[in-house]
């Protein structure tokens, strides 16, 4: 009898429990909708929450990524062994070419130093930077960004420029105490003022969430050619001039497409560099040939 009563109570309660659960789901959906609207209208309100989660999740993501990276290293090692011979031939050729460039660079460097001494140009101030490991790569087609294990505690700050060995990677858009988010060049929200290295024509290299950048606002007279190198122009005061960005690889609807030198999928470490450009505009004319040793 007692059992029967308990059973009937459960049966009576079942629809209410279902209702409660449906309401819980409805409440959570509403909460998410509020978050989306607030995040769109007032991003600053949610920034503190985001950086808090970033700080906690950064080290955890680092721990989880370790075995993945280790496995990847082994696979890379095997692939390298297989292509050792052809790689060697390419490197020999490149080495011969670079040796010629070294002679040119040495003489230019000496000439540059002599001219600077004659004109009494003050030297560039030393740059502050911090290097961080990439611990998370936002997958998916919606955002292109990476999480770097270096934060304000290490001297990084919002707006610092992220540079990898090959060139410009992006810039810091969110900063926590221990971790930072770097918006990559290929993200749809990334627009970098650039110049064509050869013709000094200005343009904006805009990301569109594909792996390539589009060269927008290029003067109609400018004729970019396949293989043309693109470097930052320094306009707008966000990126310093002269950092390699990519090379023109093709055209679509009359717009030049640029392949970035930095391959996001292969990013392991990035330098977050303080160029002291916190919103202050640099000199109007970018210094012409400030090549960065490439």
């Amino acid at each position: 009898m007692a059992f029967r009563r308990q059973g009937s109570v459960t049966r009576l309660a079942a629809p209410f429990r279902g209702l409660a659960q449906r309401n819980a789901a409805l409440g959570l959906v509403l909460l998410c909708a509020v978050l989306i609207v607030v995040g769109r209208a007032e991003p600053r309100v949610l920034e503190r929450l985001r950086t808090l989660v970033l700080d906690v999740a950064g080290p955890v993501a680092d721990a989880v990524s370790q075995p993945v990276v280790a496995t990847q290293r082994v696979a890379d090692g095997i692939a390298e062994l297989l292509s050792l011979h052809s790689e060697n031939a390419i490197l020999r050729e490149e080495n011969a070419r670079l040796a010629q460039w070294q002679v040119v660079a040495r003489s230019l460097d000496a000439e540059n130093r002599e001219l600077r001494r004659l004109l009494q140009v003050p030297g560039d101030p030393p740059l502050g930077f911090v290097t961080g490991r990439v611990v998370a790569n936002s997958g998916g087609s919606f955002v292109h960004s990476v999480l770097v294990l270096a934060g304000s505690g290490d001297g990084a700050a919002k707006g610092h420029v992220a540079v990898a060995a090959d060139g410009l990677a992006g810039r810091v858009t969110e900063i926590g105490e221990r971790a930072a988010r770097v918006l990559l060049l290929t993200d749809m929200n990334s627009n970098v003022p650039v110049v064509l290295e050869r013709s000094r024509e200005r343009a904006i290299a805009a990301g569109d969430n594909s792996g390539r950048l589009r060269l927008l606002f290029l003067a109609p007279a400018a004729q970019p050619q396949i293989g043309d190198r693109i470097v930052t122009s320094g306009h707008g005061g966000v990126f310093p001039p002269g950092i390699p960005v990519g090379a023109v690889v093709g055209f679509r609807d009359g717009i030049a497409l640029v392949q970035p030198f930095v391959e996001a999928a292969r990013l392991e470490y990035v330098r977050l560099v303080d160029y002291g450009l916190g919103g202050i505009l640099p000199q109007p004319a970018p210094p012409p040939a400030r090549s960065r040793g490439r």
Partner: protein
């Protein structure tokens, strides 16, 4: 006095297994795999896990699990806060609403249902991203992502099923 505490921890861990495994998949899905083009079409591993646990153990995987894990996914992947969370809660809700359909059904039918739910969920994510961040991803990439997610359901579900049998058998 020690044994009851250990037992309680053991019971808690087993209860939390669906949530913890999904958390692991959230972290794994943002791990920097150095595969070219993988990042563009990352399959929805978290979506698979949320669907699996809602079908098989809705008592241990509640809507708030889906919401919290979705929010974490949003922050880690740098997307608009609330987008993934809302989609995962809606997936959870739609599966719970159709729970009678899934009871005692074979794997093929569950996979088939996932084949309907996953593309809808990914399309919804794309639409919400458009609203929240004015980002419209390449439709071809979204399509590949949906196909990859549906194709990866069997192996991921197999692993989750092993874990379920190992730790949650008879519970």
């Amino acid at each position: 006095m020690r044994a009851p505490l250990l037992q309680r921890v053991d019971a808690w861990l087993r209860q939390a297994l669906p949530g913890l495994l999904t958390l692991l998949l959230v972290l794994f899905s943002v791990a920097p795999l150095r595969l070219p083009d993988y990042a563009a079409v990352t399959p929805g591993l978290v979506l698979i896990s949320v669907f699996y646990w809602t079908v098989h153990r809705p008592d241990l995987f509640r809507p708030w699990h889906a919401c919290v894990l979705g929010l974490l996914d949003d922050v880690l992947s740098g997307g608009a806060l609330g987008v993934n969370a809302m989609v995962l809660v809606l997936v959870h809700w739609s599966v719970v609403a159709q729970h009678r359909f899934f009871v005692g059904k074979g794997f093929a039918l569950v996979w088939g249902a996932f084949g309907v739910v996953a593309p809808l969920a990914i399309a919804l994510t794309a639409m919400l991203s458009l609203l929240a961040a004015r980002v419209l991803p390449d439709p071809a990439v979204v399509l590949v992502q949906a196909l990859l997610t549906v194709a990866l359901y069997p192996p991921v579900a197999w692993v989750l099923g092993r874990a379920q049998r190992l730790f949650l058998a008879g519970r």
